[in-house]
């Protein structure tokens, strides 16, 4: 019993790291973007760092949960946390924080909150180092196998993440969901009545013009659907986007953190019929027949 209690900090911290690693593994592009917002590492280096940190977090988390070299794993986890805290503090001091200053994002945290959270995890890491005595009894080959499997999963999962049909598991966008439950409160129309084709766009995407051209064909007319497009960003980005692409439909700027709850990869499209998500499309807009 005492031994179990002693291993609690390690297990708790391990579960946090495994969960964090898995969430990053299913959306590595977002993790890369988050790394870039710190302004320390950008471009290909940020991609490499993301793909390195994901298996590392998973491996450390697994080692803490199963109690394999738990004190060493706790020390390494603590070191990683100190690194994260340093990066957060640096980004904060440079004014490079995620928020645009707009209220509205319920998901995002301030750098101060992140530092507080990391401090709590660091305390757990210290407790794990101090208290942990022994883990599971392992034969010689088992730990190596487990770590190899976790590391392989940590490399393979991000590499193939976007091919996996798991959007409905890891985002809030699901068929049957009501419009009132979607983070689209900036919509300039009542989405609960009528038929809408909602587009979630990246205004900087190279193929934006082609996407908008297709959406223009779907707006109103025989499809009977009103197209409305959302993008995560600020109002002035809309000006140039609309000039360049000439949309015949409403384009709405919204807090990125809100919209991010609905997708892993852009563009994404979904149909709302009388306030309910009826169909979802990835990558390219649907055909008029699909919308009708």
């Amino acid at each position: 019993m005492v031994s179990l209690l002693r291993s609690l900090p390690a297990v708790a911290l391990g579960l946090v790291f495994v969960a964090a690693g898995l969430l990053k593994a299913v959306d590595p592009a977002e993790f890369t973007r988050q790394i870039e917002t710190y302004g320390i590492v950008t471009g290909p280096a940020a991609v490499w760092l993301a793909y390195l940190l994901i298996p590392l977090e998973l491996a450390l988390g697994t080692a803490l949960v199963v109690g394999y070299r738990a004190r060493l794993a706790a020390a390494l986890t603590g070191a990683l946390l100190v690194l994260f805290m340093g990066a957060t503090a640096y980004a904060w001091s440079q004014g490079k924080t995620e928020g645009c200053g707009c209220f509205g994002s319920i998901a995002s945290r301030t750098p101060g909150q992140v530092l507080l959270e990391d401090t709590a995890f660091l305390a757990l890491a210290f407790l794990a180092m101090l208290l942990h005595r022994q883990g599971l009894s392992w034969s010689r080959w088992r730990p190596a196998v487990v770590l190899c499997v976790v590391l392989a999963a940590g490399i393979a999962l991000p590499a193939g993440a976007y091919a996996l049909p798991i959007d409905s598991l890891v985002t809030d966008l699901k068929v049957g969901r009501q419009s009132a439950d979607l983070p689209l409160r900036e919509a300039p129309m009542d989405l609960s009545k009528g038929t809408f084709l909602v587009a979630l766009l990246d205004v900087n995407a190279a193929d934006s013009r082609e996407t908008v051209k297709r959406l223009n064909l779907l707006n109103g007319g025989q499809t009977g659907a009103t197209v409305v497009a959302f993008f995560g960003g600020e109002v002035d980005e809309k000006t140039i986007f609309c000039f360049n692409t000439n949309p015949s439909f409403e384009v709405v700027a919204a807090p990125r953190a809100d919209l991010k709850r609905l997708y892993r990869k852009l563009p994404k499209f979904f149909q709302l019929k009388e306030g309910r998500v009826s169909r979802i499309w990835d990558g390219v807009p649907p055909t008029p027949e699909e919308v009708s």
């Binding site: 928020g99 200053g101 707009c102 600020e234 002035d236 000039f243 360049n244 692409t245 000439n246 807090p255």
Partner: protein, 268 residues
Amino acid sequence: MKSMTVMAVAALAIGSIFAVATEAPAAAPGLVPFAPTSTYKVEVDGAEIRTAETFLGDPGLLLLGCSLKFPVLVCPTDQTIRYIPQENVIRDPQGNVSMKGTPTDPISNYQTLGGQIIFQAEGRKVKLSPKPPLVGTQTLEKIIAHNPDYESRIKNYAPDEAAVTFLSQYKQKTQIQIYFGSWCSVCEAWVPRLVKSVQSAKNPELELQFEALPKNFLGDTTAKLKGITGVPTIILVQNEKEIGRLNGRPEEGTMEAAIAKLLRTNAP
């Protein structure tokens, strides 16, 4: 902060002015109409051209008065820059502009970079960028001129009737101070809803005041003074005292219902 009483009649008048200003006017047969737009700032070789005029029409964005040889047409369909012979640009007494004939073949292509349109013409670098955000005390007219979407959002919004009824019958003189960012997406969605609700209430006791904050406003003097940590922030003032504030969009329901609730519960 200067104040502005928003009343329905005034708003309708403002609305109609901007409806004319932002839609391309009808033109004579054979002429392509363009409407003036104040959305873009024009820079040539790094210097802002304050005399430059910009007009939007189906073929693209027309630039006049920016010290180039001819008027320039920025065509988004093929991302090209073309000239329009001076004699083919016709200006009417209302300030609208039409084009006759066709523009020249492309003289160059433009690129978009960080929300800007950049091209070379006559060996000079021309940059078009959205106008910088509004800062300081504003009127509704100025806000709509800066961002015409505010006007359509105000026009199309159907406010919460119960809240509007409460606001219309409210007896205490109240300033509704709106701290917002013209760059902020949440503000663009929610501020027009509040404006429409107060307009619909037609209550002269309720006065809307607008204060635009810059991006990265945390160091801004006004923001510091008022303890603004995000936008939009709505502060209700009676007899020069703050009686309540709404930080951002309401967690649920409408902005007008949240304001009505604050007035109902916080008023002395």
